[in-house]
């Protein structure tokens, strides 16, 4: 095939994604696209997301139809300069279509998973990419490494990106000890040490934001920068009802109403999301872990954490990203930051900025690293 013809493939957003459906082509056949332009809306069994173009040229051919179930790695469109003859595009499209229909699609390499042991606890992680620059993603309360599904792949372009499961979460050990910020920060630093990572950019969401801040203060030499996404421990407000509701729910029926607080768009709370969270909550030890960490986060109905003094102490680049419609930790909390003007407010995003508006976060993280 002519090297100038670039394949657009179904992305792999997270470990469990095996196929996706295009719900809308944002770019039509014949239109010009640039690197980073939105190409298509894609629905997975978890959540809907937007696929960005990784190439520039003309969208010469759409291979996969709207609502067709397409395996990860299969060609869904062809991008090429306008001067590539139609006959060559036709041939490439025919081959791609044949491959799609035969089901003989080679699955794109997904994240590689592994575990390290820190302070006697097994910690799970998923790694994508192999660049010299290292980024570590740290989720929030009740989350896990899969919550970065939309941002890990684009960030891995030229970098090594690890998504970590904190103690008590995902596939890591469920024992959180005293559940303190220091214990959790120790887990992140222990992970870096075990993996032989001398220096990394840390990205933390919510509780993870407070954790990476504490890690940066404890071992400044290992941390190149901080990106805090709706961080806990900043400002006076917290949705204590959400946190307690999440910790205490014992069935999907109890859990689902609370999950609406996570997103600006309530349609993001899918059955699959609630099911996955219930599967996590049913694991032995999770109930205790969540209750212990609730004590780390809350003092009555007020936040128990304050990382603003730590941030003031940290001598490294700090970027803060916040959703305009955050109903768990409101964006007004950003006023308490040492430099409130440095906050990137993402319009139309709730607490789960990295799931709802992943491109905005990818842009911020990539911008800073250039």
């Amino acid at each position: 095939m002519n090297d100038a013809i670039r394949k657009v493939v179904m992305p792999k957003w997270g470990l469990s994604m095996t196929s996706g459906k295009i719900t809308e082509w944002i770019v039509a056949e014949g239109e010009e696209v640039s690197d980073g332009d939105d190409l298509a809306e894609i629905d997975t069994d978890k959540i809907a997301g937007t696929l960005e173009s990784a190439d520039a040229g003309v969208l010469r051919r759409v291979v996969a139809d709207v609502n067709e179930d397409v395996p990860v790695g299969a060609t869904i469109a062809l991008i090429a300069p306008a001067d590539v003859p139609d006959s060559e595009i036709e041939e490439a499209a025919r081959l791609a279509r044949e491959e799609l229909e035969s089901g003989a699609v080679e699955e794109a390499a997904g994240p590689v998973t592994g575990t390290v042991t820190v302070d006697g606890r097994s910690l799970a992680y998923a790694t994508l990419g192999d660049g010299a620059e290292v980024v570590v993603l740290v989720h929030g309360y009740g989350g896990d490494k899969n919550s970065w599904l939309f941002v890990q792949e684009p960030l891995a372009d030229g970098r090594t990106v690890h998504a970590l499961d904190l103690p008590g979460h995902g596939e890591s050990a469920k024992d959180v000890g005293d559940g303190s910020l220091d214990t959790l920060a120790g887990a992140v630093l222990g992970f870096l040490e075990q993996r032989g990572i001398e220096r990394a950019h840390l990205v933390g969401h919510s509780l993870g934001g407070a954790v990476v801040t504490a890690a940066a203060v404890a071992d400044p030499a290992r941390v190149a920068s901080l990106t805090l996404v709706a961080p806990a421990g900043v400002g006076p407000d917290v949705n204590a009802e959400y946190l307690r509701g999440f910790a205490e729910a014992t069935s999907r029926r109890e859990l689902k109403p609370h999950l609406g607080a996570l997103f600006a768009d309530p349609a993001q709370v899918t059955r699959q999301l609630a099911d996955d969270l219930m599967k996590y909550k049913r694991l032995d030890g999770v109930d205790k872990a969540l209750r212990t960490l609730l004590g780390t986060l809350l003092d009555g109905d007020a936040p128990a954490l304050d990382v603003v003094p730590l941030l003031a102490k940290a001598e490294l680049p700090v970027t803060v990203v916040w959703g305009s419609d955050d109903a768990v930790l409101p964006v007004s909390n950003a006023r308490s930051l040492p430099d409130p003007d440095a906050v990137h407010v993402v319009e139309g995003a709730g607490h789960m900025v990295h799931m709802e508006k992943p491109n905005a976060l990818v842009a911020v993280v990539s911008e800073k690293r250039r």
């Binding site: 469990s16 998973t113 799970a124 596939e171 469920k174 014992t250 069935s251 999907r252 029926r253 059955r271 599967k279 049913r282 694991l283 032995d284 030890g285």
Partner: protein, 337 residues
């Protein structure tokens, strides 16, 4: 982490993890230890279809072989449970429960009630049910409705490897007698199952699939049959909501009723014969509690009221399949007065 394992492996892992966690858990039944030490056989057979394989050597003295006398060993398991052990007894085929029924329904099921709440009987009776293995009329029945009928018993009918592991661990930790019904044609089905221990609470139905047109309640192996039908129906524009009750006793009535209140249409799929089975029970529940929401008569897809045939051709016709479920769904979806 989650990996893909079989229904059989999921059950085996649940038993092993609970035996590891709690010394009072023991396993007993026919051929659970049998075969160990015989020529060419290092391990025990692990029961007739190998569910307990590997446990005999791993937990010395806690995997017991029993005589071919269900009334004796099921009674022994129940007695041991009253004295502090947590026995998991394997009643090879559910069809054999006739010979130990007094121990189950007159003894185990009644102790808590008759001793003023002071007696606990944390016994699990694992048993195989269901047609499809050409095992004829005495080894193929779906008799869980009989246990469901009896107050004091909890009845579990898991529909996938994930469900099997979590429900087995819950069964072992539960302090009442549990009848755990494994479909013998499902042992080699596979699915994602976490390595860690986890529990699935009793009396909480699983909504397997969301849909607004017709509610399908399916039991045990019938859940995957309903899913197959739902995929086909979706292409013709009918969206089915599938509910797996997980436990027939206690039954999650609320989830079923809520779904029917939304769809207005109900199909119940049950492999058991049609008199007094789960299909009739759930249909009666919905007719009584959600009558005002119903927009069509309720349909039941069940086995016919006959013994399970030995003839391959007839047995295949006996078991409800996706086509019959799809036809029932279409008939309620298209019903007009």
């Amino acid at each position: 982490m989650a990996r893909t394992i079989s229904y059989r492996e999921a059950l085996n892992e649940a038993l092993a993890q609970e035996m590891e966690r709690d010394e009072s858990v023991i396993v007993l039944g026919e051929d659970n230890a049998g075969g160990a030490g015989s020529p060419g056989e290092d391990d025990a057979w692990g029961g007739v279809l190998g569910v307990t394989k590997g446990l005999y050597h791993r937990f010395p003295g806690r995997v017991l072989d029993t005589p071919i006398s269900e009334s004796a060993f099921v009674g022994a398991a129940i007695g041991a449970a009253t004295r502090g052990l947590r026995p998991v007894a394997e009643l090879m085929f559910i069809d054999f429960m006739g010979v130990c029924f007094d121990q189950i329904f007159n003894q185990a099921a009644k102790f808590r009630y008759m001793f003023g709440g002071k007696a606990e009987t944390p016994v699990v009776i694992r048993t195989m049910y269901g047609a499809g293995l050409r095992a004829a009329a005495q080894h193929s029945q779906a008799l869980y409705p009989i246990f469901t009928h009896i107050p004091g018993l909890k009845v579990v009918v898991p529909s996938s490897p994930y469900e099997a592991k979590g429900l087995m661990i819950q069964s072992i930790r539960d302090s009442d007698p549990v009848i755990f019904c494994e479909h013998k044609a499902m042992y080699d089905t596979t699915g994602d199952v976490p390595e860690d221990s986890y529990t699935i609470p009793f009396g909480e139905a699983n909504v397997v699939r969301d849909g607004d047109d017709v509610t399908v309640v399916a039991i045990g192996r019938m859940v995957s049959v309903a899913e197959e039908a739902a995929r086909e129906l979706s292409t013709s524009g009918i969206e089915v909501e599938i509910i797996d009750p997980r436990t027939t006793s206690p039954l999650d009535e609320e989830t079923i009723l809520e779904s029917v209140e939304n769809t207005g249409r109900l199909v119940v799929v049950d492999e058991a014969t049609p008199r007094c089975n789960l299909a009739t029970d759930i249909s009666a529940l919905v007719a009584k509690e959600a009558f005002g929401s119903l927009r069509a008569p309720i349909e039941m897809v069940t086995a016919p009221h006959t013994p399970v045939p030995f003839s391959d051709a007839l047995e295949d016709l006996y078991i409800p399949d996706a086509q019959r479920v799809a036809n029932a769904v279409k008939s309620v979806a298209g019903w007009t007065r």
